[in-house]
């Protein structure tokens, strides 16, 4: 159900090169106008809902930071009760609103089995408040609350495996996607819509401001995240990980340095001197993950 009319319109105030509007536009155009969207507090809400304007051509509700999922529960149940069963309910949350502060609300919604499609737009830190560390922030990244320094390598904890945690709720469909592979993203949105019950989409959206790269390289960065195995594209029905479908397998996976070197948030790993032990650990973790997921051809 492709629509001619853009459902996330131009004129929003996102930074140049922001990955979020690309993802939202792609997703909404796939979902279509018969939709109610929910958004949590964060960059997306700030750049798209400044009264008296709105970038949203579908009805939208924003309530707070930590509750896209529970607001969506209310929306879905009310629509069904009022006889509007055919309206799609899409909840958007940033990584802060999903991985961290909204995690309980998300888990509750998934467990209750509400027919809500939840999209986490992950830019790997609290970007709206100025690049603070989130449980989505990758190991070794420098943020304003996990700064690299004389005694710090930057973020010292691995990224929380949120999509896997969601899938472990035994929801009918979980997938990861990124804006560099729009057809893959659209296909997964379509599958989620066709699947009854709660579905979780984890979408990586590079942030030029927070990751510190040149704004024309957004798609390139998203692509590199996949090609290096940093971000694995997969989908799963249910919770049996033996049934995982890797939607982008890699032949000759690129070394992670190609990804790290392009971003200011990892610059301290290369200068003034190379922190080989940290880079080696990042690479080793990726190798293990790719082996576990069966990413390499």
């Amino acid at each position: 159900m492709k629509e001619e009319k853009e459902l996330f319109s131009v004129g929003h105030r996102a930074c140049a090169g922001c990955g979020e509007p690309i993802a939202v536009r792609t997703i909404l155009n796939e979902v279509g106008p018969n939709t109610v969207a929910i958004v949590c507090t964060g960059c997306l809400e700030v750049v798209s809902t400044g009264w008296p304007e709105t970038a949203w051509e579908v009805p939208l509700i924003h309530a707070a930071f930590e509750n896209s999922a529970s607001v969506a529960s209310g929306v879905k149940v009310a629509l069904e009760k009022l006889g509007k069963k055919d309206i799609n309910v899409i909840a958007f949350g940033g990584d802060g609103g999903t991985f961290d502060i909204g995690f309980q609300a998300l888990s509750g919604m998934l467990e209750r089995g509400h027919n809500v499609k939840y999209v986490c737009l992950d830019n790997e830190a609290y970007m709206n408040t100025g690049i603070q560390r989130c449980s989505s922030t990758p190991y070794g990244a420098s943020t304003t609350t996990s700064p690299a320094g004389k005694y710090s390598i930057g973020e010292d904890r691995p990224k929380k495996p949120l999509a896997a945690i969601c899938a472990s709720h035994d929801i009918p469909y979980t997938a990861t996607a990124t804006i560099a592979y729009p057809e893959d993203l659209k296909k997964k949105v379509k599958t989620a819509l066709e699947t009854k019950g709660p579905c979780f989409l984890h979408v990586l959206v590079p942030c030029p401001t927070g990751w510190r790269f040149s704004s024309e390289k957004t798609v390139e960065l998203a692509k590199l995240a996949v090609e290096t195995g940093v971000f694995v594209l997969w989908e799963l029905r249910g919770s049996n990980f033996n049934n995982i479908n890797i939607t982008k397998k890699l032949k000759g996976r690129k070394p992670v340095t190609e990804y790290l070197k392009t971003q200011g948030r990892f610059r301290h790993l290369f200068r003034p001197e190379i922190k080989q032990d940290v880079i080696d650990k990042i690479q080793k973790d990726i190798d293990e993950k790719c082996k576990r997921f069966g990413v390499d051809l």
Binding site: V36, S73, G74, V75, Q104
Partner: protein, 393 residues
């Protein structure tokens, strides 16, 4: 009309059932747990056509209420104490988004120390959220005020959420006889909720926008105008309720106040004890009366002034405390008189916190203390605590 004997929680649940809500997101908490239990039971037995959302927290309960109400559903919930504190963030948002959600509250103390018994701290501390606040004296009022709250809150001139408080245990768990209004009469009194604005793909609209300094103040001003307007709407709805069901409600209910030198101001279940104490003291020749507030927000300041201005002293009883100040009601009553040249003395008594019993002799002590202030012509200690156990201190 049928007469039955039920607990307070069942009365508010029955009031909710008669109001035909579409969606009830709720999280159990003592002493309000019986409310979601009864609603679940009504639905399970096919007596109620509503959807219950068994959320994982009070924060999510209010969040789901917001989502459902924004879709045009009639929505209610129930909570108390820590639950209300947890959902506080969303209560501001429900009011700011102008969603007529109704909540039944079992008024309970806040931790620490944790305490499950009655006081009004939970709802009084939410007085600035923008919700309408009703306080019941007995179970009948709990039932009726639920129906009344929906009608007031959903009025186009208001469009704000509202709560009905019944005192923990004293009402929530106490069996009293109530008249149950006929469903068809409730349906006539409270027709289906039909908002003009709701989340509708045919008419896309953004709820909960980002409000810059250019516009934020105007949003708040419009919201405040609406709760002020609610004062008038409440009077209309009370009158209509009386016509339909025969029971009379007033924002503030005076008792033997006409010639009273001392007027005691109360909220909630202790109001009945206050009347019994007034009767006793009247027999002893004391010129005392009492007033109970049924509506706390919007604050019936004008009505309070009109009813109490000729007394020599107003004794304001607070089942809450604003630490470092005194009782919330006291401060607000005092503020109503600040611009009048001549007014009664105003004393404040903190009473019945955390379920401490409120007794007839407490009112006698309050009368004596207040009369003493009149004799001296000044209030030496404006805020006094009643029934403090000195041995524990």
């Amino acid at each position: 009309m049928t007469k039955i004997t039920i607990r307070g929680n069942m009365a508010t649940a029955l009031g909710a059932k008669l109001s035909r809500p579409d969606v009830v997101p709720a999280y159990p908490i003592t002493p309000s747990t019986l409310f979601p239990e009864k609603i679940s039971e009504y639905i399970a037995d096919g007596e109620m056509d509503a959807e219950m959302i068994r959320v994982e927290s009070e924060h999510s309960a209010m969040s789901a209420c917001i989502g459902a109400s924004a879709c045009g559903a009639r929505v209610c919930t129930a909570s108390a104490s820590q639950g209300i504190a947890l959902m506080s963030e969303m209560m501001f948002i429900a009011a700011g988004m102008r969603l007529p959600i109704v909540m039944a509250v079992g008024n309970r103390a806040l931790a620490a120390p944790i305490n499950i018994w009655c006081d009004h701290q939970d709802t009084i501390s939410q007085r600035d959220t923008g919700w309408l606040q009703f306080y019941a004296e007995k179970n009948q009022e709990g039932l009726d005020l639920m129906i009344i709250a929906f009608k007031v809150c959903e009025d186009k001139r208001v469009l704000l959420p509202g709560m009905v408080g019944i005192d923990a245990f004293v009402l929530t768990h106490t069996i009293e006889a109530v008249d149950v209004p006929e469903q068809n009469l409730v349906d006539e009194f409270l027709p289906k909720y039909k908002p003009e604005l709701y989340l509708d793909p045919n008419k896309p609209m953004t709820f909960g926008s980002f409000g810059t300094p250019e516009f934020y103040q105007e949003f708040k001003y419009a919201q405040v105008k609406a709760i002020e307007k609610a004062s008038e709407v409440i009077d209309e709805v009370f009158a209509e309720f009386k016509k339909k069901f025969g029971r009379e409600y007033k924002k503030i209910v005076p008792y033997k106040c006409e010639d009273a030198d001392v007027i005691i101001l109360t909220m909630g279940s202790m109001s009945g004890t206050a009347r019994a104490a007034v009767n006793k003291m009247r027999e002893e020749g004391k010129k005392v009366g009492c007033c109970k507030l049924t509506v706390y927000r919007p604050f019936p300041g004008k009505e309070i002034v009109d009813l109490t201005k000729n007394a020599k002293v107003i004794a304001v009883l607070d089942r809450d405390i604003s630490p470092g100040f005194g009782g919330a009601l006291y401060g607000e009553v005092a503020a109503q008189f600040i611009n009048t040249s001549k007014h009664p003395l105003i004393t404040n008594y903190i009473i019945g916190l955390g379920g401490r019993d409120v007794l007839i002799e407490d009112f006698e002590e309050i009368y004596d203390k207040s009369t003493d202030a009149v004799k001296k012509g000044r209030v030496e200690k404006p805020v006094e605590w009643i029934h403090l156990n000195q041995e524990v201190l």
